[in-house]
């Protein structure tokens, strides 16, 4: 659906995005994850044709965003970081304007409007001025705007920033439901959000793509190790002897507590085979197991590990050439 090849964007000497390449397949929710200033907004602005790349190519369903901007943009609905709303219009007036500007035919206009408002839950504020809406509703109107003209791809830049927890939950549900009919790309610096909403994750750091895959894939690929926590009814020496003999065990920490021993064990393989090997080893040594659990490296660890080098503050992400604009 979307092909990004060797995308680079420089602002003077500052490189916001460097040699970014990835492919987005249709019918899934993609999460653009990265710390602040990673180049997420810049990349999204380039994908939607709002910003020109210094180098590289973006094609939307085979249409190059620079060579055939009208065709390519017609396939995209975009919600920028700050929803581009005209405060002096009512929701219905605004959505009518956007739909017509996107070339929706008069016959289909009402249907499109009703659908967008129904999906985003903005029908009950349709005749209110956008100026008077809460931030959550403004965000919904922004999403409704992106849905008009039924684009194949919906791109949402930080759609939950600044919302209260209840609104966040609602917007996430909305995004999930959009993922059934559209290809959705959203950006976020909040890991749990991406984990909760997205099918696939693109982890971006310092303008580079550092990882790409489903949450489980990332955890597995970058974890490699698993940690087991066990409590056994045996003394430390006994338990240690039994466990250290198992293939793949890297480290065993023990702590005796009365008649029991608490063990923290690190192993290299994450597969279920490891579970079995450990329990067989313990039963062979006639050691009763009171508790055993596996702790996979969380996506958070992956995120932190990948973005750790150079964790010092970077200069603020520069947005599409706005100068002196207020930071939302």
């Amino acid at each position: 659906m979307i092909e990004v090849r060797h995308l680079t964007k420089r602002y003077g000497r500052y490189t916001a995005v460097e040699d970014l390449s990835f492919t987005v397949q249709s019918g899934a929710v993609y999460g653009f994850l990265g710390p602040n200033g990673a180049g997420k907004t810049t990349t999204m602005n380039i994908l939607t044709g709002c910003l020109a790349a210094t180098e590289g190519q973006v094609t939307i369903d085979g249409h190059d965003i620079f060579d055939e901007p009208t065709k390519a943009k017609g396939l995209i609905g975009y919600l920028p970081e700050q929803p581009p709303l005209y405060m002096g219009m009512t929701v219905r007036e605004y959505l009518t304007f956007v739909a017509r500007a996107k070339g929706v035919k008069t016959r289909q206009l009402d249907g499109q409007l009703e659908r967008a408002m129904a999906v985003t839950g903005t029908a009950d504020v349709a005749d209110r001025l956008i100026r008077n809406l809460s931030k959550g509703y403004r965000q919904r109107v922004g999403i409704a705007q992106a849905l008009l003209a039924d684009p194949a791809v919906i791109i949402l830049d930080e759609p939950t920033v600044g919302l209260d927890p209840l609104q966040i939950v609602e917007i996430r549900q909305l995004i999930r439901s959009l993922g059934r009919e559209h290809t959705v790309i959203l950006s976020s610096h909040i890991l749990s959000e991406v984990q909760a909403v997205c099918d696939r994750i693109l982890l971006i750091h310092k303008g580079r793509l550092v990882a790409d895959g489903t949450a489980e894939e990332l955890e597995r690929r970058f974890a490699g190790k698993v940690t087991y926590r066990l409590t056994v009814k045996a003394d430390a020496v006994h338990a240690r002897q039994a466990l250290e003999a198992v293939e793949g065990v890297l480290d065993v920490q023990t702590k005796t507590d009365g008649g029991r021993t608490r063990i923290e064990l690190t192993a290299s393989d994450a597969g279920p085979a490891m579970d079995e090997r450990l329990s067989f080893a313990l039963s062979d040594g006639r050691i009763p197991v009171l508790r055993m659990e596996r702790e996979q490296a969380s996506l958070e660890d992956v995120f932190l590990a990948l973005t750790a080098e150079g964790s010092q503050e970077r200069p603020m992400e520069k947005k599409s050439g706005r100068k002196g604009g207020k930071k939302p």
Binding site: G12, C50, Q82, Y86, V98, R322, G325
Partner: protein, 291 residues
């Protein structure tokens, strides 16, 4: 494009500035009609229009200041950039909406000659001259609106856009008088062109942020200017004043006020409008290439 046009028209008609412009135009139009036709019994409507050109000084900044600057300020320009519309269509839609608002009070002004002719017992107003001049007045407004739109596209602050536009309008209004102060000496012309070239280089540097390129081009142009001066010394006499005089947009209306429908002036007004619309599109496009 019609969607952009309608939204811009809507925002103009929902705001105050369009009405202030219209009110000023009609108020002063009414006063001049009172004084010229009703009190003095003159039959020349073009005089009214000639006097009204100064309303554009205040009216055009009021009309155009928000057109692009407000979009940038509110970040709604992001929507415009992401729409499947070419920037030319967007700018044209906005421009036509502004021209529509600009023309609305002119339509009402156009009723005066008919009204006076219907009521008068003495000399009637020559309608051809009156409506020819009104058309010229409209074309002048078109050119000025394009200039205002361009200035608005350069700014993010609406107030600043209005201020800058007013200053430019004022300069254009008094340009001929100012040009009168320029002496005819060839050296003065050379100095004038040299300063303009330097200014051009400065603007180029600001726009492209490519110091060496702007500097090199400026040096080349200045050198070319020097060579021309050495070769065609006599041609330079009074040339700068002439060129400056050519830029006086308002003065192009003079011939209409003498009752002449000057096609060259119409072409001039439309060219100015075209040039500034083109520059507006370029300014908007350039923001996409922000570096």
């Amino acid at each position: 494009m019609t969607a952009i046009y309608e939204r811009e028209l809507d925002s103009q008609l929902n705001g105050l500035t369009g009405y202030i412009y219209g009110a000023l135009m009609l108020l002063f139009g009414g006063i001049y009609v009172m004084v010229c036709h009703l009190e003095q019994g003159a039959t020349d409507f073009t005089y009214v229009l000639y006097s009204l050109t100064f309303i554009y000084l205040i009216g055009i900044p009021l009309l155009t200041m928000r057109s692009v600057a407000e979009e940038r300020h509110q970040k709604t320009d992001q929507l415009l950039y992401s729409l499947p519309l070419s920037m030319t269509k967007i700018v044209l839609g906005k421009y036509l909406a502004l021209v529509t608002v600009m023309a609305m009070p002119l339509v009402l002004l156009g009723l005066y000659p008919l009204l006076i002719n219907a009521l008068t017992t003495s000399g009637a107003i020559p309608l051809k001259a009156a409506y020819g001049a009104l058309t010229g007045f409209f074309f002048l407004g078109m050119a000025l609106t394009a200039i205002g739109l361009f200035i608005s596209s350069l700014m993010e602050n609406v107030g600043l856009a209005a201020g800058a536009c007013f200053v430019v309008m004022l300069l254009l209004y008094f340009l001929t008088s100012l040009a009168g102060y320029i002496t005819d000496a060839a050296a003065v012309s050379l100095a004038g062109f040299a300063v303009c070239t330097a200014l051009f280089g400065l603007i180029l540097w600001r726009l492209t942020r490519n110091g060496p390129f702007a500097l090199a081009l400026t040096v080349v142009l200045e050198a070319a200017l020097g060579v021309c001066f050495a070769l065609f010394h006599s041609r330079f006499e009074g040339l700068f004043a002439d060129v400056v005089g050519q830029l006086a947009v308002f003065d192009r209306f003079d011939s209409f006020s003498y009752g002449i429908f000057d096609i060259r002036s119409v072409v001039y007004f439309l060219s100015v409008a075209g040039l500034f619309l083109f520059l507006t599109v370029q300014t908007m496009e350039r923001r996409r290439w922000a570096s």
